[in-house]
């Protein structure tokens, strides 16, 4: 049932959650999400291209193009282990959002600003659940601010890109062991917070228009390492004997936001637009989540192996221009999990997924377009475990069957003039 129903208010924009592969979340535009989140070779006369491929922005027809929106998503995960009779489930709500604005400075140069939230994960298990030694709850947020420039070399070729400034934070809570409690039987936990962590990266892409129908695109977004140098760790329900060991203090930690390479093609045929994207996320950079308890030499470094692998996503989208005002869209994608066997941690309890998406845009006479999207992601059931939790010198395993699904509904607004 509904364990955690956070306010669904669309105004709570500064929050995002759920991840496709790993903790990446693919909901950066309601038009493109409706088309399976394709877009590296799509212009669609929308500022959403600033995210999908900045090179496309220079082909936007109007002087000014804006696009903004948000998605409400509900992520459900169910965990069961029949050996021990363990059952648990968690429901988390997220609201990834975006804002894109583009200015066509000349017929060969455009500048723009993109703000979006491509990473995030909130997972809130029942406190002290069976996997609480791995995670009670996690809430990771990263907002990208990306000014872009796009240059048209010819009607056949353009390129674009820009720096990315990231502002993010994480809170992470877990129990310090599988059995430690205070004198009243409350499980001892540690809460780690790192707020206002900033970092820089970049994105670049190009677009090739073979003819009036066929378009090719490539986009690269660099990896960004979020370094928290003055995070805090606070310990709760510590037994008296552990007061000296488990004392609140500073922590240092790093979390990588991996690089992504996307190549794709789109084909315009009368009122139909077909798009395909191939997406490669370089997750291998996430080898371990290491938390250095700098003020607690007795704990030292907590190294939590992740050992992610690079993973691919295959996206397909189609759009049908029903009338001048109405566009209908549908899409599908397959997203490989970057998690390798034995490294399935319940903080990112998801497997390979298949997404079914749809949506529409209705454009009013005054030029304002309303973009709607919905999606359903089904994650393959997985019997998985995390086998690298160290306890008294031995690795112990925690796992079971995880079943996950995400539904989302998004609302966006586009305006250009």
């Amino acid at each position: 049932m509904i364990r955690k129903l956070i306010s669904l208010s669309l105004t709570a924009l500064i929050s995002s959650s759920v991840f496709a592969g790993g903790y990446r979340i693919s909901m950066q535009g309601n038009k493109q999400l409706a088309m399976g989140h394709t877009g590296v070779a799509v212009i669609n006369n929308s500022a959403e291209t600033l995210f999908f491929n900045p090179a496309g922005a220079v082909y936007l027809k109007d002087k000014f193009s804006f696009s903004a929106g948000a998605t409400v998503l509900i992520a459900d995960t169910k965990f069961q282990n029949a050996v021990y009779g363990w059952e648990n489930e968690t429901r988390n709500v997220g609201t990834p959002f975006y804002f894109y604005g583009n200015y066509q400075a000349t017929d060969w140069l455009s500048i723009g600003l993109a703000v979006y939230s491509p990473y995030g994960s909130a997972v809130d298990w029942d406190r002290d659940w069976q996997g609480s030694h791995l995670v009670n709850s996690i809430d990771l947020k990263a907002i990208y601010f990306q000014p872009t420039v796009a240059v048209k070399v010819s009607k056949h070729f353009s390129f674009g890109g820009g720096p990315i400034f990231v502002n993010g934070g994480v809170t992470f809570d877990r129990n310090v062991s599988r059995s430690m409690t205070d004198e009243n039987g409350n499980r001892t936990d540690v809460n780690i917070k790192a707020k206002g962590v900033t970092a820089w990266g970049w994105t670049a892409g190009y677009m090739v228009n073979i003819d009036d129908h066929l378009r090719l695109g490539m986009n690269y977004r660099s990896k960004i390492i979020m370094k928290a140098n003055d995070g805090t760790a606070s310990f709760n329900d510590v037994p008296a004997f552990g007061a000296a060991m488990f004392k609140d203090g500073k922590i240092k930690a790093e979390m990588p936001l991996p690089a992504e390479l996307t190549v794709g093609a789109s084909y315009q045929w009368n009122k139909w637009l077909f798009a395909f994207d191939y997406n490669r996320a370089f997750w291998r950079v996430y080898d371990a989540l290491t938390i250095d308890f700098v003020d607690n030499p007795a704990i030292g470094k907590s190294v939590n192996l992740r050992n992610y692998k690079d993973s691919s996503t295959y996206r397909f989208g189609v759009q049908y221009q029903a009338t001048d005002a109405l566009s209908l869209r549908a899409g599908w994608y397959y997203d490989e999990s970057p998690v390798q066997p034995g490294y399935f941690a319940p903080e990112t309890p998801r497997n390979d997924s298949r997404a079914y998406t749809g949506g529409l845009t209705y454009k009013f006479k005054n030029g304002i377009g309303i973009d709607l999207s919905f999606s359903y992601l089904h994650f393959s059931d997985t019997n998985s475990s995390y086998d690298y939790y160290m306890e008294d010198g031995n690795y112990v395993s925690f796992g079971g069957t995880y079943k996950s699904a995400v539904t989302s509904a998004g609302l966006g607004i586009s305006y250009s003039f």
Partner: protein, 534 residues
């Protein structure tokens, strides 16, 4: 006309937000777990301290919750198990255990053991028991957990074992006195009054371990031919014939109404940290003090010389400055050599000024002393003895400093199981376990082979989640999360009882073709650690 599209907005939002994502079939459903051929509706646990949830030297309120039968009963609830009651410890207000009799502490029933982090040592927690046994606190109720700490196999059949009047004469068991439905009832009688449909029976350990924990100070009734248990001392080994008769009576009674169950075997002493934690040679040169060794060797050399004169020089050896040295122990099976030692000490008066009284005392002590070998088992309780001063000062500080227990004064035989004593224990354990298995086989009961389980755990036993549990004593933070034995070294802790329950569940699932969810020992608590003990 086109406005009607606007209605799609809220409809889509509701669709997306409200529709419950379908997650698919559950791995666990109403058919996942089943009782197989067994009926768990009324589960009764018969046994001794191990069944009662005794740990850290006593039964205390929070510890009793993690008795293995209580852990089992929670799992049985998945397959039709009913309510499971345990003797009330509501009167253990401060959760320290122990027992009082008519307001006075009952000797031998002290408070629970804790680890005092300021001294590093396991010790009894300060405080006074609030569990008072008197005529007004008798519970007079049969409980599903019928485990009685201290009970031997024949005690379960003994009328009066729960009589308050008999307790005052030391002839009853205070734990059973608290719950017995009458002064005349028996442990088994009260258990049967609940009409069990399923039972566990883990009895018999005290019939041999009482002897073992006393360092072999009792009588082996197999040798003595004692077949009247009412004449047994508490440290005696029960006669195998007595054991067989009592054990079979118990199992016949438990199964008489068609109940199924599990019986458990008795572990070897070599699987219990109480007997395996203290090495025979803990005296490293550093522990003794390298600078003291020459002086010590003068004394030891003197004794060795005396013994050598009568061909017994190999009883003791000079101290090594480089290797760990064995403990000097008393061995009552040795021939008394106090005469030659006395002579030697008298002749050495010039270098070792001792009074005639001191010489007499020392030679008596050393007359049956030898150095321990790897074949001796030193009891956990010897830890506080080894290296301790003599109880009475000689008045000479130099000599006092030299006369230390286990170094120059032999450690009492009551802290050591020598090979002869060990053999008696092993023989009795094997006999009893054969009786247990035979009885189980006769009644087609499941056997939880605790002896095999703990024997495997000596070198480390891997459980489902990959953790390896060993039959070690608490060693500090290094095994805080995996130690199975409580601080008394004999009984298990909460985690250890879960480990026992895990094994029993596996046996039940196998023998009765049931599927009951397992328990994970890892989430159960280990020892109580306190920053200080006050």
């Amino acid at each position: 006309m086109k406005r009607k599209y606007l209605y799609i907005l809220p409809i889509l939002a509701i669709l997306g937000v409200a529709c419950e994502p379908s997650i698919g079939d559950d791995k666990i459903n109403s058919e996942t777990y089943y009782a197989g051929k067994a009926d768990f509706s009324t589960y009764v646990a018969v046994g001794n301290s191990l069944t009662a949830g005794y740990m850290d030297n006593t039964v205390y309120r929070s510890g009793q919750k993690n008795s293995f039968p209580n852990i089992l009963a929670q799992q049985f609830k998945e397959v039709g198990g009913g309510e499971f009651t345990q003797p009330s410890y509501a009167d253990d207000v401060n959760d320290v255990g122990g027992l009082l009799l008519n307001g006075q502490p009952l000797p031998g029933f002290g408070t629970k053991m804790i680890v005092n982090m300021s001294t590093g040592g396991p010790e009894n927690i300060k405080g006074t028991s609030t569990i008072d046994i008197n005529a007004s606190t008798l519970q007079k109720k049969a409980y599903n957990n019928a485990g009685v700490p201290g009970a031997k196999v024949f005690h379960l059949l003994a009328p009066g074992y729960g009589s308050l009047a008999a307790l005052a004469q030391g002839k009853a068991n205070p734990y059973f006195v608290r719950t017995a439905t009458s002064g005349e009832t028996t442990v088994l009688g009260d258990a049967m009054s609940l009409k069990p449909t399923f039972f566990t029976n883990w009895i018999g350990a005290n019939d041999v371990l009482g002897y073992a924990t006393s360092g072999g100070e009792g009588v082996d009734q197999n040798e003595a031919g004692g077949i009247d248990p009412s004449l047994y001392g508490s440290n005696d080994i029960t006669h195998a014939g007595v054991f067989k008769q009592a054990y079979e009576t118990i199992v016949n009674t438990l199964t008489s109404q068609g109940a199924n169950g599990v019986v458990a075997t008795i572990p070897y002493v070599t699987t219990i940290p109480f007997f395996t934690t203290v090495p025979y040679n803990p005296l490293t040169p550093e522990a003794v003090g390298v600078e003291n060794i020459d002086q010590l060797n003068q004394f030891i050399g003197l004794i060795k010389m005396s013994l050598s004169a009568v061909g017994q020089g190999d009883r003791i050896d000079l101290f090594s400055k480089t290797e760990a040295n064995p403990v000097l122990i008393q061995d009552k099976t040795l021939e008394d050599m106090s005469g030659v030692i006395k002579m030697g000490l008298q002749q050495a008066a010039a270098i070792l000024p001792l009074t005639a009284e001191q010489i007499e005392l020392l030679s008596q002590q050393l007359g049956r002393a030898r150095h321990a070998t790897g074949k001796d088992l030193l009891l956990l309780t010897s830890r506080t003895q080894i290296g301790a001063d003599l109880p009475i000062s000689t008045g000479n500080p130099v000599i006092d400093n030299m006369l230390k227990i286990g170094i120059t004064i032999p450690l009492s035989d009551a802290f050591v199981l020598n090979p002869i004593e060990q053999q008696k224990i092993k023989d009795a354990t094997d006999q009893f376990n054969a009786i247990i298995r035979g009885s189980a086989s006769e009644h087609n009961l499941a056997v939880a082979d605790m002896n095999e389980l703990l024997t495997k755990a000596v070198s480390g036993l891997r459980v489902e989640d990959g953790q390896i549990y060993t039959a070690d004593y608490f060693q500090g933070l290094g095994n805080l999360n995996t130690v199975l034995f409580s601080l008394d070294g004999v009984h298990l802790n909460a985690r250890g009882y879960a480990f026992i329950a895990l094994e029993i569940l596996k046996e039940i699932n196998k023998h009765y073709e049931a599927n009951i969810p397992l328990v994970n020992p890892a989430v159960y608590p280990g020892p109580t650690l306190l920053p200080k003990n006050d």
